[in-house]
């Protein structure tokens, strides 16, 4: 009776203070396990396949053979590269969702060099041209929306998004210019015989160079964000433009400078995609990485080192989903469902890291 009178809600939500890292990661681990259990139940219910088998398949899809492991690292490296590019802009609260376009234009610039200069320049000179062209093209593509934002305060989200479509249509145009055979709408592998402009293989490994390049960028970005004056400035701009102005930071300059960097690294990712692996350009070459990168950044809270883990997670799930669809003859959508559930739980766990639920009973005990 008494209880009814003083009825409290079942629980209330309280903001947590700083949490030690092991506790935070413990919560994340619990979320992952919970996600796996839920996915297991759904797998069993919907397909009748043994969920443990499904997880083993997922694991083998990534680590089953040395090749799969290298492919995983390579895919991870490219995604991480695009994510690293987005990080400074996001830290500045500049919502750059134009990564896709910036990568595409980098791809196109690289392919253009390979096609037009392929057999005319010596290899080192050609590679230098490709680097300058791709990085430059990406930087310009990032700079345009930043310039408009800085000068006229245009909406960067819409602007960068629209720049994606412009880039994709420009690529579509050049695919037709360079298509082979005629009318097919495909360029095919560029310089397949001469391999002009292809990145060299280190030892026997096609992907090692890409991975090393991205590893170096990761370290540099970590230093840039945490220990450089630029990194500090863009963090201040992100926290409060007013404060930044007050302390004498030139906000428009920081915006433009940061987006130049952001676009340049995206252009570099395009270079890796074309010269390092695909050796062609298509309208779908960026493969949505510009958008996936947003998730990678957010999940890792813009920490370059944390992004290694999140990009690994996303690629691991993607490759695993592919392997599931092959091994069990299921539609790929099923793998995507599992991936979706796991990501949902991981994002959800952030709530429990930031907030605590105080249950009624607990509250009474506290009294």
């Amino acid at each position: 009776m008494n209880e009814k009178k003083n009825r409290e809600p079942l629980f209330h939500i309280v903001k947590r203070g700083e949490m030690p890292w092991y506790k935070a990661w413990g919560i994340r681990a619990i979320a992952l396990i919970a996600a796996l259990v839920i996915c297991g139940i759904i797998t069993q219910a919907v397909t009748g396949d043994n969920p443990i088998q499904v997880y083993i398949t997922m694991f083998l899809g990534n680590f089953g053979t040395p090749r799969r492991f290298w492919v995983l690292l390579q895919e991870m490296a490219i995604l991480l590269c695009v994510s690293l590019a987005m990080t400074p802009a996001f830290r500045m609260r500049f919502w750059n969702i134009g990564g896709e376009g910036q990568v595409m234009i980098g791809c196109l610039a690289t392919a253009a060099c390979m096609i037009c200069l392929g057999n005319k320049l010596p290899a080192p000179l050609l590679v230098i041209c490709m680097v300058i062209a791709s990085v430059g093209a990406g930087a310009v593509w990032g700079f345009i929306p930043a310039f408009f934002k800085a000068k006229w305060n245009t909406n960067e989200t819409l602007f960068t998004l629209m720049m994606n479509y412009v880039a994709i249509q420009i690529v579509a145009f050049f695919v037709i210019v360079w298509e082979s055979p005629k009318g097919s709408g495909k360029i095919g592998i560029i310089n397949q015989q001469s391999m002009a402009g292809w990145f060299p293989t280190i030892g026997n490994n096609k992907y090692l160079l890409n991975i090393i390049i991205v590893a170096v960028i990761t370290v540099l970005m970590y230093i840039y964000m945490n220990y450089s004056k630029h990194g500090y400035e863009l963090a201040v701009v992100g926290e409060s433009e007013q404060t930044a102005r007050y302390v004498g930071i030139n906000v428009s300059r920081v915006i433009m400078r940061t987006m130049l960097l952001s676009g340049a690294i995206c252009g570099l990712a395009g270079l890796l995609l074309v010269a390092g692996t695909n050796h062609t350009v298509t309208t779908t070459l960026a493969g949505g990485r510009g958008f996936t990168a947003v998730m990678v950044c957010w999940l890792a809270k813009f920490n370059p080192i944390g992004m290694i883990f999140t990009s690994f997670l996303l690629e691991f799930l993607g490759n695993g989903a592919n392997q599931i669809s092959t091994r069990f003859g299921l539609n790929q959508s099923f793998g995507d469902i599992i991936t979706g559930i796991i990501i949902f739980f991981i994002i959800g766990s952030e709530f429990f890291i930031n907030y605590r639920l105080n249950f009624r009973k607990k509250a009474e005990e506290a009294k």
């Binding site: 997880y55 083998l60 005629k182 592998i189 592919n322 092959t326």
Partner: protein, 443 residues
């Protein structure tokens, strides 16, 4: 350091889970991993051409661009399953990889299949070709077969092969059905003789598409001499909205019959809504379009799969270019829909089919069409014509090169020899009577 520990922790947690799984209940789990390692070792020791392969140890890999939701890929997936069944291969012996893009992923997948111990790998999409070649160079003991490709005869690799079918014959026969329909519409007074205009939704202005719509048109005109045709392009192999819009555009342009060469249901459903008869492709669309679907032509890939896999089993060489036809049952017509087709269509089709099989009819018989050569419009520059406009010579671009150079004389004995100098079509002549509304390539 912290991060390393965490990653290690998380990794070991996952490992522990999967280990627990193995030790737990499932004996199949270990069996599978055993199978995988066994397959790996088999892969390195795969038999070379000339050596027979034990059928029970054979493994076949398939690479598809999309999954069963695309009519194009569904056609290949069904063929793969049929071939495996006919050859008596178990489910473990075929590996189907769906949703493989036309990029490095294709190479990675092909190499992965070779790692898994596949003796032969098939890919189904045009853009896979270069990556299949790359894999073929790296795995000389594995056969790589690519449908619709153009480069096998110039690459000179022993283990890389192209295949296609004389689908232009199927299109010609489907065209006969269309011609019959036009004739019956004229007879019923629905349209006048000079209004017998066909609309065609194409994907790209690519030889495969040009060969397809021209053979379809010639089939229709062999029955209905006043027929004309308008073609529009979507610039994509699969774009449901664009195909639907394209069909609607043609219908509003007074086309009285529609056909298409693109892979979605866009055009057929637009026809059903507008009540315009449609000749379909890749398979019957009668379920979605019961009132307007007439007939459909498609390539059955099972005969090729059975041929190539059989060759591996017997240790025979696979042809660099293989072309299936009506006799191999690679070119198929789906059931005629009596509700939409004209009476007596089947007889006419049978008659034409007989003619094609015994060689009395050639689809690209140069006396049945005229060609205009126009230097200023860059039209048909590879063609030579007589004073009546009939083709006397055509240098086709059979060997793929960036300059699109015509390299092979394709006209002799009074007809254009399609799919003889390589498996993929190379007929790209713009003939009179067909109007291209656009050459829209955009994506």
């Amino acid at each position: 350091m912290k991060m390393k520990k965490i990653v290690a922790l998380a990794a070991s947690a996952v490992m522990a889970l999967s280990l627990a799984a193995c030790g737990g209940s499932s004996s199949t789990g270990t069996a599978e991993s055993k199978a995988e390692t066994a397959a790996e070792s088999a892969g390195t020791a795969a038999e070379t051409t000339g050596t027979k392969v034990d059928k029970s140890k054979l493994k076949v890999g398939f690479i598809f661009l999309h999954d069963e939701n695309s009519t194009y890929d569904l056609n290949f997936i069904n063929a793969a399953k049929t071939a495996a069944k006919d050859l008596g291969l178990s489910d473990d012996q075929i590996v189907l990889k769906t949703n493989v893009p036309e990029g490095q992923e294709c190479y990675d997948t092909a190499a992965d299949l070779a790692d898994e111990g596949c003796n032969i790998v098939f890919a189904d999409s045009f853009g896979h070709e270069d990556y299949m070649i790359q894999a073929a160079k790296e795995f000389p003991n594995v056969q790589f077969c690519h449908a619709t490709g153009t480069k096998a005869h110039t690459e000179g690799l022993d283990n890389y092969h192209n295949a296609f079918a004389s689908i232009y014959e199927g299109r010609y026969l489907a065209g006969v059905a269309a011609g019959e329909k036009l004739n019956s519409m004229i007879k019923e007074g629905k349209i006048k003789e000079d209004e017998a205009k066909i609309g065609y939704v194409g994907a790209f202005t690519y030889a495969e598409v040009i060969s397809g719509y021209t053979s379809f048109f010639l089939g229709a005109r062999s029955i209905c001499p006043s027929a004309t045709m308008e073609v529009t392009f979507t610039g994509s192999w699969y774009d449901e909205t664009a195909e639907k819009e394209a069909a609607n555009k043609l219908i509003s342009d007074k086309c009285v019959l529609i056909s298409q060469h693109a892979d979605s249901m866009g055009a057929p459903t637009a026809c059903e809504t507008a009540g315009v008869p449609d000749v379909s492709y890749n398979g019957s669309t009668v379920d979605a379009c019961p009132n307007t679907y007439i007939i459909s032509s498609r390539i059955d890939w099972a005969p090729y799969y059975e041929y190539a896999i059989g060759a591996v089993i017997d240790g025979q060489k696979i042809d660099a270019d293989w072309v299936g036809d009506l006799k191999t049952k690679s070119v198929q017509l789906t059931d005629l829909n009596d509700k939409a087709a004209a009476e007596g269509t089947q007889d006419k089709i049978d008659e034409a089919m007989k003619g094609l099989e015994d060689g009395s009819i050639h689809v690209f018989d140069t006396s049945t069409f005229t060609v205009t050569v126009d230097e200023s419009k860059k039209l048909n520059l590879n063609a030579k014509v007589d004073d009546k406009g009939h083709l006397t010579s055509y240098m086709a671009d059979v060997d793929t090169d960036e300059a699109y150079k015509g390299d092979t004389e394709a006209v002799s004995d009074g007809y254009f020899h399609e799919s003889e100098y390589r498996s993929a079509p190379y007929f790209d002549v713009q003939i009179d009577g067909i109007t291209l509304l656009d050459t829209n390539f955009g994506s």
